[in-house]
């Protein structure tokens, strides 16, 4: 199992005075640029440490929000491509449907792949609903735009003999011929996220890496949909564990009391992530008509399940509930290893742990200590752990 260190790069100093929305409408006068600079440097320091300790690295972006300072992940990747030496650099994700210019995205990603000497992992995402009002992309067309942008980027990265033209539904180009071309051939690996079985199956058909967040003990259903798509595409043999990724919060310490204290701090992520003014939570067309009809009736689809089948609400759950739902792995190194190993069994194989090793108010010193402890006590055991390899039929 590979372990990626991730932080949303929260701007937590603004979390106490948000008037109901940390995203979209929270005025940026609440962002002190000097504090933002200190936080950026701190998070980059932690990623450099993670690189030195043997972790891989995950980065992301969100927009107009105090939950995530990174609004342009290309900057993060650019800094880390130069300042780290060995870690894989996973962007999860790059919201390709929301950007106006996939040619520019192909150039940026290819350049980062070259500078990092082939360490880029390209996670393409459709983004959370709160990205829509700021990007101003028509939510009704996001899925179609996503796949056209994807098709274009892959073609731009894999065409080497002559410029090509593109006259698509959403994007038009002439003389497409990116320099530099990507370091990895034919192109950096593609990842994507989903919380629906339908999309999971599509990712399986394509053989891309599937990542889920907050799905807890419902993850197996998504991974099995992936396995169905994998098999339906005519592949022999099951999908290897490295096709599967799961984002879990990690709070680890030498003793359980300290781990629980860190768990409370790390839980700041799920407790703030969904603080958004209600009118921005469900842009039209983002969900299917059938899902929206159910929402009007007040039926929200449960997402997070504990191992014994209880539904929990990530935004309000206790640390114990987050642990029960495998949204957080928390405890001593032995406990954290046991929780991850158990969850890996549930998944039928899990080759990539996307570890939110910093979240919320977890301090730099605590983060450093957690990373060192995890690298020393847990990572070697995860690397040696025998992975189950499930087929579609669980």
């Amino acid at each position: 199992m590979k372990v990626f260190h991730f932080t949303e790069q929260p701007y937590f100093p603004a979390w106490d005075s948000h008037e109901g929305s940390l995203r979209i409408v929270l005025p940026n006068r609440k962002c002190d640029p000097a504090r933002a600079a200190n936080l950026f440097h701190r998070y980059y320091d932690e990623w450099q440490l993670a690189d030195a300790l043997g972790f891989d690295i995950m980065v992301n972006e969100h927009h107009s929000t105090a939950t995530c300072l990174s609004s342009t992940v290309v900057v993060t990747l650019s800094v880390l491509a130069r300042q780290t030496t060995r870690a894989r650099l996973l962007v999860l994700g790059y919201p390709i449907a929301h950007r106006s210019d996939p040619l520019r995205m192909a150039e940026e990603l290819a350049t980062i792949d070259v500078i990092s000497r082939g360490r880029l992992e390209m996670g393409f995402v459709k983004g959370v609903p709160y990205e829509i009002p700021v990007a101003n992309t028509n939510p009704v067309f996001v899925v179609e735009r996503f796949w056209e942008a994807h098709d274009f980027i892959i073609k731009a990265m894999t065409s080497h003999d002559e410029p090509f033209n593109w006259e698509g539904e959403y994007f038009q180009y002439r003389h497409v011929n990116i320099w530099p071309r990507p370091y990895q051939q034919p192109h950096p690996p593609v990842w994507s996220t989903t919380s629906s079985r339908t999309n999971a199956r599509v990712l399986g058909e394509r053989g891309y890496v599937i990542a889920t967040l907050g799905s807890g003990y419902n993850t197996r259903a998504l991974f099995d949909a992936y396995r169905e798509g994998w098999a339906a595409a005519g592949r022999t043999g099951p999908a290897a564990p490295d096709r599967f990724a799961y984002l879990g919060l990690v709070a680890i310490a030498a003793n359980e009391d300290e781990a629980r204290r860190r768990g409370e701090l790390v839980a700041g992520y799920p407790r703030t992530s969904a603080i958004v003014a209600p009118q921005f939570r469900n842009p039209p067309g983002f969900l299917s008509v059938a899902d929206n009809a159910r929402l009007l009736q007040g039926k929200t689809p449960p997402r997070s399940y504990t191992k014994d089948g209880r539904v929990i609400n990530m935004a309000t759950a206790s640390v114990q509930e987050l642990i029960d739902a495998a949204i957080m792995f928390c405890g001593t190194p032995d406990q954290v290893y046991a929780q991850i190993a158990d969850f890996t069994e549930h998944c039928g194989g899990l080759g990539n742990l996307l570890m939110m090793g910093q979240a919320g108010h977890l301090s730099h010193d605590d983060t450093v200590d957690s990373l060192q402890l995890f690298a020393r006590e847990v990572m070697p055991r995860l690397a040696e752990m025998k992975q189950p390899v499930a087929t579609a039929a669980a």
Binding site: P133, P139, F141, P278, P283, P284, V289, A293, L296, Q297
Partner: protein, 266 residues
């Protein structure tokens, strides 16, 4: 509306759409706003007292099919030109409300060959103010209660109890919201070219406006009327953005009276 009140369907330009027909006499095409049209709406009966009412449910709304590739109000306008031909309408009165009035205006700038009168009520469609001023309230940045507060003279009358609606009707509500975004997300509820084309409308045009409309204010309606040669502007009292719902009698009376006056010059 309930699923029991099924609306008849018709295939127009290859797409099966819902079409309400009522009354007899000269054709009056009613183009509904983004919230759709209830076949039980009083305004349809009032209009049918003086005309043959033809009220299609726009492609993508209600239970009307959405032809592939239809993404703009321009597409809808061409669709309705096909509908006018297939129904062989002549001297038709075209009445649109809100989003429907935007479609009506896009139709009329293309051709008024089959039209005699045009009525635009609380219309979307043009850009009036400067680039930092939204002429039309951003309904996608408001809760449903906030939208109702601005859209109705009496918001209490607008409340809908979703918990008591059946699945099929909730699907219609959800589909109407999605279709409104499909066609009007950005540029928000307008076509930057439309205002410069309104001079092409040379049939009698009435611009009607709810005096309490706070989705798009009466001054926007006055600007609309000023851009259409000879257009009249009238307010409807005690009505917001949907005067056909809040004042159906007054609305129908004004429309029918206007349509009774002479049409295009011979």
């Amino acid at each position: 509306m309930s699923a029991a009140d099924a609306i008849a369907t018709k295939i127009i330009a290859g797409a099966k759409i819902e079409l309400i027909e009522r009354g007899s006499g000269r054709p009056l095409v009613f183009l509904h706003p983004g919230i759709g049209i209830d076949p039980g709406a009083a305004v349809l009966d009032r209009l049918a007292e003086g005309a043959r009412v033809i009220a299609p449910v726009h492609p993508g709304f209600g239970r009307s099919e959405l032809p592939r590739g239809m993404t703009s109000v321009d597409d809808l306008a061409y669709f309705y030109l096909d509908l006018f031909e297939e129904l062989d309408l002549a001297d038709a009165v075209v009445v649109g409300v809100s989003f429907g009035a935007w479609i009506a205006a896009e139709i009329a700038v293309k051709t008024t060959a089959r039209l005699s009168h045009l009525v635009l009520a609380d219309a979307f469609g043009i850009k009036v103010g400067d680039r930092e001023t939204r002429d039309i309230a951003d309904i996608f940045a408001m809760t449903e209660a906030q939208v109702a507060e601005r859209a109705y003279c009496d918001p209490a009358g607008a409340r809908r109890d979703y918990a008591r609606m059946d699945e099929a009707d909730l699907m219609v509500v959800a589909r109407n919201r999605e279709a409104t975004a499909r066609f009007g997300w950005s540029p928000y509820m307008h076509d930057p070219k439309l205002k410069g084309r309104l001079h092409r409308i040379r049939i009698p045009t009435l611009v009607l406006w709810g005096d309490s409309d706070r989705i798009v204010a009466p001054d926007y309606g006055r600007a609309y009327a000023a851009a259409i040669p000879g257009a009249r502007f009238e307010l409807i009292e005690r009505a917001g953005h949907f005067p056909h719902l809040e004042q159906p009698d007054n609305f129908a009376r004004r429309v029918l009276a206007f349509a009774a006056a002479p049409g295009r010059a011979p």
